[in-house]
C-alpha cells in the first residue's frame, strides 16, 4: 500500500489497525446500517462488529470478518469505542466514493485506545487524506437474547423477492405484520394503511424460498418506522433469513457480497409492537 505514513504508524502503539485496498468494502456495508448518528464499534481477533440502535427496540449489526481486511492487527481481546457514523462515512468517501472501475480508495484505520481519536489514512491516486474522528465511551449494546434454541420459525429467502415487496409496502401503515406458519399462508407480510390492508404471501415451495422451517403459527407486528432502515441492508444483500423466537422477537440476517465477492453479514433485531396481543 503506497501510504508513506505507514512506517510511522508501525511504531505507534495502536491497539487496532485494519487496512483495506478498497474502502468501499467497509463504507457500503456501514451505509446500510446508518440510520442514527452514533455507532458502537467492537473489534475482536475475529473481526469488526458495528452496532447501531434505535430506542432500545431495534438493533442493527454489521459484521466484517478479519479476513476481509488486507491487514487486521489487534492487540487486545476486545477493542470498543463509539463514533459518529455519519462523519465516519463522509471521511471514508472523502474522494467522492467513485464507482469507476479500477479506481478505489485505500484505507488504513488505526486506533490507539481509550481517549484517542479514530485515525483514518485514505489514499486515492497519490493523494492522501488523514482523518481523526473523536471517539466516545461505547454504550453497552442491548442484548436481545436471541438464541437459536428459542427460534420457533425460520425462512431463508432470496432478497430479490423481498426487495419487490418492501419497495411496494404501504408506508402509511404504522406496523408491518409478519405471519409465519407451517400451514397456509406460510409466510405473509401485511400492512394496514390508508390504502387498506395489503398482504404479500410467499408459499413454502416458492423458488424464492431457499429454506422453510416453521414449527408454530405466529403473527407479530413490528413498528414500520423501526424496520424501514432495514431496506438498505436488503438492497445490498442477495439472501435474507427471517427468524422469530417464542417471544415474537424478529431477527433479519442479510448476506451481503462486497465488491470483491467476499461475504459479510448484516443483522437486524426488532422487538414486537406491544400493543398487539395476537396469537
Amino acid at each position: 500500500m503506497p501510504l508513506s505514513t505507514q512506517s510511522q504508524a508501525d511504531d505507534e502503539p495502536y491497539v487496532l489497525v485494519a487496512s483495506l485496498d478498497n474502502a468501499r468494502n467497509l463504507s457500503n456495508i456501514l451505509k446500510s446500517i446508518t440510520f442514527k448518528d452514533h455507532a458502537i464499534f467492537s473489534a475482536t481477533p475475529n473481526g469488526l462488529k458495528v452496532t447501531v440502535e434505535d430506542s432500545k427496540c431495534m438493533q442493527a449489526n454489521a459484521f466484517i470478518q478479519a479476513d476481509i481486511f488486507q491487514e487486521f492487527t489487534i492487540k487486545e481481546d476486545l477493542v470498543g469505542f463509539q463514533v459518529n457514523l455519519t462523519v465516519l462515512l463522509d471521511c471514508l468517501n472523502i474522494f467522492g466514493g467513485s464507482t469507476v472501475q479500477g479506481v478505489s480508495t485505500a484505507l488504513r484505520m488505526c486506533y490507539r485506545g481509550y481517549g484517542y481519536p479514530l485515525t483514518l489514512f485514505l489514499e486515492e491516486g497519490g493523494v492522501v487524506t488523514v482523518c481523526k474522528i473523536n471517539t466516545q465511551e461505547p454504550e453497552e449494546p442491548v442484548d436481545f437474547d436471541f438464541c437459536s434454541n428459542n427460534v420457533t420459525n425460520k425462512v431463508i429467502l432470496l432478497s430479490e423477492s423481498l426487495k419487490e415487496a418492501f419497495s411496494e409496502l404501504d408506508m402509511t401503515s404504522e406496523v408491518l405484520q409478519i405471519t409465519m406458519s407451517p400451514s397456509q399462508p406460510y409466510f405473509r407480510l401485511s400492512t394496514f394503511g390508508n390504502s387498506g390492508n395489503a398482504h404479500y404471501d410467499y408459499p413454502k415451495d416458492s423458488e424464492m424460498m431457499e429454506l422453510f422451517r416453521c414449527t408454530t403459527t405466529q403473527t407479530n407486528r413490528y413498528k414500520m418506522s423501526l424496520l424501514k432502515p432495514s431496506t438498505k441492508a436488503l438492497a445490498l444483500s442477495c439472501k435474507v433469513s427471517v427468524r422469530t423466537d417464542s417471544r415474537g422477537f424478529l431477527s433479519l440476517q442479510y448476506l451481503v457480497r462486497n465488491d470483491d465477492g467476499q461475504i459479510c453479514f448484516v443483522e437486524y433485531y426488532c422487538c414486537p409492537d406491544e400493543e398487539v396481543e395476537e396469537e
Partner: protein, 285 residues
C-alpha cells in the same frame, strides 16, 4: 452607446455559452464590460457577496465573427452593463443549433441585450428566436469599482491539483465544517484542512509544481526574500465559496493556479486558451 456582435462558428458559440454558464454558477449578478478588444465579466468584492470577487476576461476576436461597439464616449470607449448571467446562459442554450447568433444592445421597455438567431426546422422555413435579456447600464462614475484587480502580493503561488479531485474532497468536507484552511508552499505541496469538535481532516496534495513567476511578487521592486520552500502560507476561507468556485468549472483549464496571501486572500486563476478567470476568496479569522 452601441453594441452588435455575431457568432457563426458552432464551437465558438458552445465555448461562449459554457463560459457564461460557468459565470452564472459563480454569481447571480455581475457586470459585463465591453471594450473594443475584450469582454469582461466582473464581480467586485462586497460584503453582500461575502467579499468574493471575480474577473473573467475574454478576447472578443476568439469568439465573435463580427464585433462592433461604440462606448459611452470616444474617451471612455466602453460599455458597462449589470447582467444576470443565468438569463444570458439560458438564452444562449436555446440557440446552440443556429447558423449564426447575433447579440445586440437594444432598448425595449428597458435596456436589453438581445440575442437573436435563426434556427433550422424540419421544413425549409426557419424559426427565428429572439431573447431580450434585461440589463442595467452602469454610469461612468461607478466604473472605478470594476477595474482589473492587481496581482496581490502573494506569499506562495502553486498549481492547483485536478479540479475534480479538489471538488470531491471539498464537497465532503462541507458536510463536516463551514470553514476550510488552504495552505501551500513552494515545494509544490498543498493541504486542505478542516477541524471541528468532532473531527479533523487533512488532504495532502504533492508534486503540484509552482509557477515560475518567483516566490515574491513584490510590486514595489523591493528585495525579494528567499522563502523557505517548506514554509506554508495559509488562509481560512468559507468552504461554500470554494465549493461554489469548484462547482462552476465545466471545462478543464489549460492552467489552474492559486496564489495565497497568508491569512488574507486566496486568489484562484484559471486559464483556458481564450478565457481567463480569476476568483478572489477573502480569508476569515
Amino acid at each position: 452607446m452601441k453594441f452588435r456582435g455575431k457568432i457563426i462558428d458552432v464551437a465558438c458559440l458552445n465555448h461562449f455559452t459554457r463560459v457564461v454558464t460557468t459565470i452564472s454558477k459563480l454569481t447571480k449578478i455581475c457586470v459585463l464590460r465591453l471594450t473594443p478588444d475584450n469582454l469582461f465579466f466582473v464581480l467586485s468584492g462586497k460584503v453582500a457577496n461575502g467579499g468574493v470577487s471575480m474577473w473573467c476576461e475574454l478576447s472578443q476576436a476568439n469568439f465573435f465573427d463580427e464585433y462592433q461597439m461604440e462606448g459611452v464616449s470616444s474617451e471612455d470607449n466602453e460599455i458597462c452593463l449589470e447582467v444576470t448571467p443565468e438569463n444570458l446562459s439560458r438564452a444562449l442554450k436555446t440557440v446552440q443549433n443556429a447558423k449564426a447568433v447575433k447579440l445586440k444592445l437594444t432598448k425595449k421597455h428597458c435596456p436589453c441585450l438581445t440575442i437573436a438567431a435563426e434556427l433550422p426546422t424540419l421544413s425549409s422555413i426557419s424559426r427565428v428566436v429572439t431573447h431580450d435579456v434585461p440589463v442595467d447600464v452602469i454610469p461612468r462614475r461607478l466604473w472605478h469599482e470594476f477595474k482589473e484587480p492587481s496581482m496581490p502580493d502573494f506569499d506562495v503561488s502553486i498549481y492547483l491539483p485536478p479540479l475534480k479531485t479538489m471538488k470531491n474532497v471539498v464537497d465532503r468536507m462541507k458536510n463536516l465544517s463551514n470553514f476550510l484552511v488552504m495552505e501551500a508552499n513552494l515545494n509544490g505541496e498543498m493541504n486542505l484542512k478542516i477541524e471541528t469538535d468532532l473531527v479533523s481532516v487533512t488532504t495532502h496534495f504533492k508534486d503540484l509544481g509552482n509557477p515560475p513567476w518567483g516566490d515574491d511578487a513584490s510590486q514595489d521592486g523591493g528585495p525579494s526574500q528567499s522563502r523557505d520552500p517548506e514554509d506554508m502560507a495559509q488562509a481560512r476561507v468559507d468552504i461554500r465559496k470554494l465549493q461554489q468556485f469548484l462547482m462552476g468549472q465545466q471545462v478543464n483549464p489549460s492552467k489552474a493556479m492559486c496564489n495565497i496571501v497568508h491569512e488574507r486572500v486566496v486568489h484562484l486563476i484559471l486559464l483556458h486558451e481564450d478565457v481567463s478567470l480569476q476568483y478572489f476568496i477573502p480569508a476569515v479569522a
